[in-house]
Symmetry: none
Subunit: 204 residues, 4 copies
Amino acid sequence: MATSQPPPRRGRGRPRTPGAEERILGAALEEYGEHGWSGFTMDGVARRAGVGKSTVYLRWQDKDSLLTDAVAISSATIGAVDTGSLRRDLEGLSENLFHYLLDPAGWASLRILIDGAGAAEPLGQFVEAVTQVHVGFVEKTVARAVARGEISDHHPADAIGELVYGSVAMQMLQLRLAGRGLDDAQIAKRVDRLVGILLGGILR
Amino acid sequence: MATSQPPPRRGRGRPRTPGAEERILGAALEEYGEHGWSGFTMDGVARRAGVGKSTVYLRWQDKDSLLTDAVAISSATIGAVDTGSLRRDLEGLSENLFHYLLDPAGWASLRILIDGAGAAEPLGQFVEAVTQVHVGFVEKTVARAVARGEISDHHPADAIGELVYGSVAMQMLQLRLAGRGLDDAQIAKRVDRLVGILLGGILR
Amino acid sequence: MATSQPPPRRGRGRPRTPGAEERILGAALEEYGEHGWSGFTMDGVARRAGVGKSTVYLRWQDKDSLLTDAVAISSATIGAVDTGSLRRDLEGLSENLFHYLLDPAGWASLRILIDGAGAAEPLGQFVEAVTQVHVGFVEKTVARAVARGEISDHHPADAIGELVYGSVAMQMLQLRLAGRGLDDAQIAKRVDRLVGILLGGILR
Amino acid sequence: MATSQPPPRRGRGRPRTPGAEERILGAALEEYGEHGWSGFTMDGVARRAGVGKSTVYLRWQDKDSLLTDAVAISSATIGAVDTGSLRRDLEGLSENLFHYLLDPAGWASLRILIDGAGAAEPLGQFVEAVTQVHVGFVEKTVARAVARGEISDHHPADAIGELVYGSVAMQMLQLRLAGRGLDDAQIAKRVDRLVGILLGGILR
DNA sequence: AATTAATCGAGACGGTACGTCGGGTCTTATG
DNA sequence: CATAAGACCCGACGTACCGTCTCGATTAATT
């Protein structure tokens, strides 16, 4: 999960300050939230965390790693859903996803993925961290639906996941560009519409 | 379309060099393609375009605006599709989209949108430039399908567009993260699968 | 006197706007007076003179030439003195010199000379213009004194001129650095002191 | 003496690299000597000193301050003279002054003073640094001569200093404008002439 | 009257340097 | 050892000016 350096612990010398890691990650998320990507500064993070730059660079090798890590931590909030019904599972998943992407940290996570996907060398661990977690959720959900006989196994879980995630992401993209948010009722409506179309096609 | 400064034209003074705009935009795309975001330099662009930095800054207020514009222009390559059949229209659109996002410039376009959507103040015109162009394509496609009686008007064009774009984008995200590309046959297969699911739900 | 380009006049075409030369030189002096050397801009001069930059560059080949010329013109104000007495001649000369260097343009003239004397290649004409004019004054003054038998011809005019000009310049340098000026009474006192030493020496 | 920023020293953090100041000042003088005022570049100085630009700007607020300081330091080379005789003291001082102004750095010092004296706000500390040092030399010299009874105290040290410095500076100005130098014999001759007039006056 | 040719104001152009800022490294004194 | 502070080298940023250039619009003298 963490890009953070595994500390070469040997018990000698001054131990790492306990709270530092968390304070830095927190500061990173706040700085990112307030100033966006440009305007997200290592000096700024260090200052806000009340920490020297070397302390930051001792734990993360560079700026990307830090933001990546900060963001990966908040990814855990999506959570799995298991209601016994494909429709309600997908609705739950979509709703969680909306909330996730409404949060600056969640959105940052997407930004980092996109950014990393354009770079020369792949990010490696972060894919494991974020992508596979989400993919896993959908696969389990679909597998249960197949087992219950709700759908045939014609339609691969991949495709369904891509449609759900992609649609929600696109909606959030448009909303954020327009500077708008969403309340719970609006989310419910969009979730309904999305799952409706999706199921109409994949039910046997 | 353009974030580029509307020149305070009054016919006085030396007119702006005709080819410059294009040369600069071209250079910007090439530089971005070769060096990625970090490594994308205004000096580099100017040098490659055979132009002074002031000439660049006379037309674009900063680095972001330039890249934004460069990328917006390459969006036009998606193009509208009108085959007389909803299925084939959506297939054509998806295929174009795959090709678009396989290209570095196309992918950059997505990256910039995501990035801009996280910033404090919205990008404004760029939304018009890129998003609405694409939205327009889908809306027209769906409208024609409704007119032909292929589908009811229950399903808003928005939702369909979000599913198509989102799904293709997500697939490309995964592929790029894995460091893989796509040949035409693979694209055709993915297009089929996507449109298959989609139509299964929206045909009357 | 003028570094200004000799216009290749042939009577055809639009003649140069009559007042332009003066307006530009005036603007140059004002700009220099207000903003000093750094802050003295060709664009600024052109704007203040209500003139296009090309009009300026049509007459002067570069920034130095312009300022040089602007300043050379105001040099004529020193003027020769011939009172029939060496003491009174030198007093008159010194007094004129004080007034000249109190004026921003006069001071600028000195600055330009000093500046040019540090450069790789000499300024050429400007030396003729400014230096020799002044040297000439002193030479004539001394020659008359020798003719009248006031002094022997042991002491070359050069040496006397250097002492007068140098002393006045040094006094002005100190005053300007201290941000102070001089009224007529103070000038008279300094002139007295200077000429007194010069004529009589300092040994008791 | 120094325009250089007084560092907010508190013993914390990495101390400023010891040799840097000197290396930078040296590089500044060399660059100035080679390329003159135009052609004197902060980047050039930093590169020659093997130092980052920020290291330079951490110590001097701008280009002027740097050159000013570089030059102030080389002023110390004039040195006081005390031979027990007014004539020989003045000769020694004049000779030193000739050598000083023959050197590019020394001449630059004069140029900077003249330049600074034309600016809107005074240079402040630099006056102390350069002017007062020199003034001090002359005052002490004259005071000793008065004590020895060589001269009366009618003639203020100021006036004598202005004559010596001014005369030497004017001679150097003419020589530099003519592109000529001076060997030791020529200097001796000029020194003799100058001090002769000063001590004895020019009246027959 | 039509043509020719120089000048004019305006302002874009290719450069170069400015002074600032941030990334990532390094060096101290203090835990 | 780790830490907080902060100086270090590097290199890009966006701005300002230089001196050149290209326009359309004057303005005479020449046809």
